[in-house]
Every structure is written in C-alpha cells, then in structure tokens.
C-alpha cells in the first residue's frame, strides 16, 4: 500500500474514530468509577436507613438511576441515533447507537436483577408485574434482540440500517407497553405493595439519589464513549485489511484504435 493511498483514505468523507486519548488513560471512566464508589459509600454508610423498608431500600440508589438511564437515556439514544442514521447515513451514528445499546443492556440487566433483590424482602415476592419492571423487561428483550441482530449480520451497511429500523420501532413500542400494562393493572387490581417513596425523599436521601444518578450517568457516558472508540478502532483495522486498488488507466472511456 502506497503512502498516497493512505493519505487518500484519511481525506475520505468518513472520519476515523476520535483519537483524542489514544494510548492515554480514560480519565472520564476513572472519574465515573470513583464517583460511583463514593456514592455507594455514602449510600451505605452515610445515608439514613428508611423506616419502612429497612436496609434493603438502599438498593434503590442503584435500581432507580439504572432504570432511568437504561430505559430512557440509553434507549432514547439508540432510537434517535438510528433515526438520524437512516436520514444521514453517517456510520458514526450507527456506532453510537450500538455502543449505547451495549451499555443500555447492562444497565437494564442491573435493573432487572436489583428489582427482585429489593422486592423480595419488601414485597415478599421476587417478581411483580408492576409498570416499570414490566417495561424494563420488554426493553431488555428489545435490546437483546438488537444485539443478536447485529451479531447475525456481517455487512456493516446492512447491519446499520437494520439496527436503526429496529431501534426506531422499539421506541414506538414503548408507549404501547405502557398502555397495555396500565390498562391491565387498572382492570386487574394487583396486591397492594409498599410503593417505595421516590419524590418525597428527605434531603439526605435525595442528595444520595442525585449523586447516584450523576455517577451512573457519568459512567454511562464514559462507557459509551469507550465502546464507541473501540468500535472505531476495530473498523479501521478491518479496513486496513482491504487493499486499496491502485489507480489504473484512463478514467473516461475513450475508443481505442
């Protein structure tokens, strides 16, 4: 491969991955992890124990932020990036969507795991079909389907288009799940459970909650960015393997003697 073709490639319309902190340390990720540790310490040691639910309530500080970010932020980004990709066809948008989906599935898994752990001592059952858990479960399935779909397609263009379509349709699904669960619950009164109090948290708990939300959000962005860069590096490695064809002969068709 000649040096001119490498230069040619960097000048193409598809920009390479951001190389800002290549080889260096991912400061954002470190800060996010530290923030998370600080939050956990604060939640365990420095936040009062809730009267009705006991120590188990502290899982709320993991459960709620994960739910908010995993369901709305992460999936929202998947859907919006997907829609933009279908319009602009910039492969970076697809990479963002894929990264957000991978981090999002982790966050929703955390919600689905912490939910029962929290629920068992308080509600007496491992699982309850309450609105948020049900929606989370469905979005988890959509995420998993999204990732399996991506895994089953090799052609990057096809993969990007199909994922984008699935992302947008998944976003359309959300209100229908909401509606179905709401209607189901109003017509089928469920056993009354102790609804964990969210809006009316006393100040110390509220602070911890916001700390948790901020650190999970920071972690989310750090992970997505790291995943995005990794995807970019992997793609450019694949492209190195495809030989650039040297320019050969005339570009216009001229009749030859």
């Amino acid at each position: 491969m000649t040096s001119s073709t490498r230069a040619e490639r960097t000048a193409t319309e598809y920009a390479g991955p951001s190389t800002r902190s290549d080889g260096g340390v991912d400061w954002l990720l470190i800060v996010a992890v530290l923030a998370l540790i600080a939050t956990v310490v604060r939640a365990v040691a420095f936040t009062p124990i809730e009267v009705a639910q006991g120590a188990a309530q502290k899982i709320f500080y993991i459960h709620a932020p994960s739910a908010f970010i995993g369901l709305y932020v992460a999936f929202g980004l998947v859907a919006v990036s997907g829609a933009l990709y279908l319009w602009l066809r910039d492969e970076r948008l697809d990479r963002i969507a894929a990264s957000s989906a991978e981090v999002g599935v982790v966050y929703t898994t955390v919600v689905l795991v912490t939910g029962p752990i929290w629920g068992k001592p308080i509600w007496g059952t491992w699982w309850t079909w309450d609105a948020r858990l049900t929606l989370t479960l469905f979005l988890w399935f959509v995420y998993v389907g999204y990732l399996i779909l991506r895994g089953a397609i090799e052609d990057p263009g096809v993969r990007a288009r199909y994922s984008s379509v699935l992302g947008v349709l998944g976003a359309l699904l959300v209100p229908f799940i909401h509606l179905s669960v709401y209607l189901f619950r109003t017509l089928h009164p469920m056993p009354i459970v102790l609804k964990p109090s969210e809006p009316s948290l006393p100040p110390e708990m509220l602070t911890t909650f916001f700390m948790a939300l901020a650190s999970f959000a920071l972690l989310y962005f750090a992970l997505v960015r790291a995943r995005y860069r990794l995807a970019g590096v992997l793609e450019s490695l694949e492209d190195d393997a495809v030989p650039e064809a040297p320019s050969v002969g005339p570009l216009r068709a001229e009749p030859v003697r």
Binding site: R9, T12, Y14, E91, D155, P156, G157, D239, V242, A245, P246, S247, V248, G249, P250, L251, R252, A253, E254, P255, V256, R257
Partner: protein, 257 residues
C-alpha cells in the same frame, strides 16, 4: 492496442442520429459513476454512453465491479456519486428507467414452485405488458423452451432454468438488456437461442451490456468492448477495430498487470 488519434466519444456529445429517426437520449448514459460498499470502492468514476443497437461486452477478472455495474444500471443499487441514466431517466428512484431494463443475473430470480410460464407471465404483469400470458408464451418460444412451459421451475435443469430466466428478462421488450454471464449453463440449443434473441433485440434498437468471461461469445455480438478492472474500464474499444486473437492477448496483458 495503441491510443487513438480519433476523438473520444463522450456522453456530452449530441447523440448519434441514425437514419431518419429523431435524436433519442442515449439508451445508457453513465457519468462519473462511483459505487462503494463501506470503504471498498467497487466502481470508480465510470463514464460511457450507449446508443440504440449498441452492444457493450465487458470483460474482466472477478471482483472487477462488473456485476455491481449491472446492478446499479438495473436500479438495484444506488450510485454513491456520479449519475446513471437509462433512456434519459435518472436511475435512483426512476421507476420509468427500470421499466425498460431487462436483467439477467447470476441467479435465476425465478420462483421454483411456479411453472416457467407462470414465472414469465408474472414478470410481464409487473412490467405492465398487455396480454401478459401470450407475451410470456412468445418469450418462451424465442428461447425454445415452450415444451416445458407448464413444468415447475424446480423440475428444470440449470440450463433450462437459465433459458426461462432469459425469457423473463425479455418479455417486456426492454430497451436496455443487462446480461451477467448469460451463457453459463446453456447447451448448444440454448446458446443459439440466446444469441438469436440478442441479435433480434439489437435489430429492434435495444442496447445490450454483456458481462462474460467467454471472449468468443462476447466479441461475436459486441459493437463496443471494455475490459474492467478494479472498478474502471482500462480498455474501451469499438468492435470493428478488434480481432479475437489480438483481443485475447490484450486482455491477458491488461488483466495480468
């Protein structure tokens, strides 16, 4: 082959007027056509034009972009840049362009459960041919396969399927016929039927683009020849000036580079 002293034939020239007919837009007009898949460039800034009655035979090694070129002209792929026009109609999105194109590709594009006649009749209806059943029968006649008209395609040999596929491509009397290695699998009868059909189409004023590995067959029909390599035409000639042996040597040289 030496470079010409004659002027190149560029698409910007006025179309050749044949006989008393008023000037029609060129059957195929390609200008700066490029097509890439991700970062792989399959067609690199191609420019040429074909008029009624022309037959362009395209030779070249595998992976040269010949099939991609046909798929773009058939309306199956969008150009990444540049333009392609069929009978004056721009290709991306041009249903009117697709209506006058017939495609014969590597795969038969037939429904194996339906009969030969049903397959060709279905195609005739898709293209809005009046009296589709009779037109289908006539198309099968031209390819000398009417005796198997009512056999399900899956019961036909590869060569017979190829003949049905060719009949399907021509049932609507296309103005441009794109043929991707059409002689593959054909026996003597089939090959003779195909050659006759192509000559007839040429006489009627259709333009043909024939991709083939078979120099003899390609040159027999050609008014123009091209050798394609890595997305470009590296040799382009008018047939009258080319002899089979000389061409074979030139081809080997061009491809062996």
């Amino acid at each position: 082959m030496t470079r010409p002293a004659t002027e190149p034939s560029l698409p910007s020239e006025t179309p050749v007027v044949r006989g008393d007919s008023p000037p029609r837009p060129p059957a195929v007009e390609v200008e700066g056509l490029s097509r890439r898949f991700g970062r792989r460039v399959a067609i690199r800034s191609l420019t040429f034009a074909l008029h009624d009655g022309d037959c362009l035979s395209v030779f070249g090694p595998n992976g040269a972009g010949k099939t991609t070129l046909l798929r773009v002209l058939a309306g199956l792929l969008r150009p990444t840049s540049g333009s392609a026009r069929i009978a004056g109609v721009d290709l991306p999105g041009g249903a009117a362009a697709r209506a006058v194109v017939g495609l014969i590709s590597h795969q038969s594009m037939l429904y194996s459960a339906l009969t030969a006649l049903e397959n060709v009749e279905f195609a005739a209806k898709l293209y809005g041919v009046s009296a589709p059943r009779q037109a289908a029968f006539r198309a099968l006649e031209r390819m000398r396969i009417t005796d198997r008209a009512d056999s399900p395609v899956r019961s036909l040999s590869r060569g017979m399927q190829q003949r049905v596929s060719i009949a399907r491509a021509m049932v609507h009397d296309p103005r441009v016929v794109l043929l991707d290695e059409p002689y593959t699998g054909l026996d003597e009868v089939g090959a003779a039927a195909l050659t006759d059909a192509l000559h007839a189409l040429k006489r009627q004023g259709a333009a043909l683009i024939l991709v083939t590995h078979h120099l003899g067959e390609g040159l027999a029909l050609a008014t123009h020849t091209a050798i394609m390599r890595e997305g470009q035409f590296i040799e382009y000639a008018e047939r009258g000036s080319v002899e089979l042996d000389a061409y074979r040597d030139a081809y080997r040289r061009a491809v062996g580079q």
